[in-house]
């Protein structure tokens, strides 16, 4: 599950991720981070689900972070898309492929929201959501 964390001034000075990893043993992958000593935003991927995920999210919230669960990071405007495939190979997480009818398909679980596909699309058919 990908989660966006927003750090406030107080939270930014605490090693919250390190604590949660040590405490729960969960595998957490930092996908994107923009942190300053004052505040910040981070997208992480927590490699778990169900109860364990719920507990992890509760922990993050209790530590003072604003937590948003990311179900999908980008979307394709089917009206604009011409199924060319220019977005497929530039995707660093290999989240994009052709489906059987050669339409573009984005695997939400793999997408890391980096946005390379957005600039790679000659039709400007992909947007961050």
């Amino acid at each position: 599950m990908k989660v966006k964390l927003r750090y406030s001034h107080e939270a930014a000075s605490k090693p919250i991720l390190a604590e949660i990893i040590l405490k729960t043993g969960l595998l957490i992958n930092i996908i994107e981070a923009k942190l300053t000593p004052k505040e910040g935003e981070m997208v992480i991927d927590i490699a778990t689900q169900g109860q364990a995920l719920k507990r992890a999210l509760e922990y993050l919230r209790a530590a003072g972070l604003e937590v948003t669960e990311l179900r999908s990071l980008v979307e394709v405007d089917r009206e604009r898309c011409i199924s060319c495939g220019a977005c497929i190979s530039p995707c660093p997480s290999r989240a994009i492929r052709f489906d059987e009818s050669l339409d573009i398909e984005i695997d939400e679980r793999r997408c890391i929201g980096c946005g390379i596909c957005i600039s790679a699309c000659p039709r400007k058919a992909i947007q961050l959501i």
Partner: protein, 510 residues
Amino acid sequence: MNEERGKEELRRYEEINEKIRRGDAVVMTAEEFIEFVEQSGLEKAAKEVDVVTTGTFGAMCSSGAFLNFGHSEPPIKMVRCWLNDVPVYKGLAAVDAYLGATSMSETKPFEYGGGHVIEDLVSGKEVELRAESYGTDCYPRRSLETTIILDDLNQAYLYNPRNAYQRYNAATNTSDHILYTYMGTLLPRYGNVTFSGSGQLSPLYKDLNLETIGFGTRIFLGGGVGYVVGEGTQHKPQSGFATLAVKGDLRGMSAEYLKGAVFHNYGTTLYVGVGIPIPIINMRVAATAALKDEDIPVDILDYSVPSRDRPIIKKSNYAELKSGKVVIGDKEVPSSPLSSIKVARKIAETLKRWIEAGEFFIQRPIELLPNYREFKPLKIKKREVTVGDIMMPLKDLVLAKPEDDIKKVAKMIIEKNIDHVPIVSEEGVLIGIVTTWDLTRALAEDKKTLKEIMTRYVITAKESERVDDVAKRMAEHHISGLPVVDDVMRVKGLITSDDISRKLVGRRGI
């Protein structure tokens, strides 16, 4: 084979058209034909199939439209003209214009361009027309602003000087930074491969020897009917890079097959849908119409080399490229197309339907296209300033060895008033570089020998390189000096941003 080319041995155009009229012509898309040949053999397929339809839908920068706006009251000799802020070529008569696909909007460059205007016109959208003039006795008006739609124009025809490349090279990037090219986004260090063209559906590849596609061939163009009006620019059929010049009335075309597009940091273009019927007039044509993706070679080129002769990284083919991964060395690299195979297929199917319905007839070319054309480079005749012209030569350089004492080098730097010291081996081969900044750091950190502080990954230049290219490299890496080396990395000199700015003041040609 030249005399043989175009010979109607299996069937004549008249016979094919008669069958189309009667509604019993046998038409297959190129992919259906391939399958049929595999099942029944080439002989039988050639005997039974009258026409094979093809298609491609890709970015074709050499595309555009000739437009005639009609005369305003009082009339104007348009000298400068814009459609939705996209400059239109006005070196023609008063209200004739050419709208090129890569011309970019002056207010929204890299976002909207000539290709988009064509798409908008064909969609029936209103487009803003602005024009300026100096005013003449016969054309007194000096400016105008209005809106137009496609139906307001007297003539509006697509005229594309180069479309439908027979096949096209694929692209990858060996450098360590991302590239944004007309071949799309190329990730660093062989991160991906992009390719263009529709492979086994490619109109010109299916008639590899150009036996049926020629001047006057009737084609599917942008969803309507168009014609081949000659060889395309950069036509190079002897190596499988034949191209076409095509023309067709924009009225009757569909925005589904004409799409404005943007390649990030490159510019705007137009995706054009082209479909060509290949009449199976002889066995040679049947054989090339049956060629499969794996039979069509594609070189993967390194687009990080900023040269017209880019090195070939791998010899591949459309089957491997379309599979989604290409093996380069020991690495599996993702590959993806820039042309839409889905739409190419749809074009071949649409054209097939048109012929089956008796709405589209096969035109014998008035003249075949040349099957050989020299492809000439553009020579830069004025000598350009090279690194060798302005670099500090070897004899004036301070060089050092890795084990040299820092203090000794610091002294030399002061005596000679320089900033960069290349570190070389006994043979004079470059192994590192030290700058005055490195020495400052050495002092702060109490280091003794150059080995401890030198930069080992050195950006270099060659004597023959243009100063302009080297200046760009310095800026990219935020450095102020590059050792100049030969092919075996022996130091030949040093070029600094100081040299460039001081020695080139007032000089031109870089």
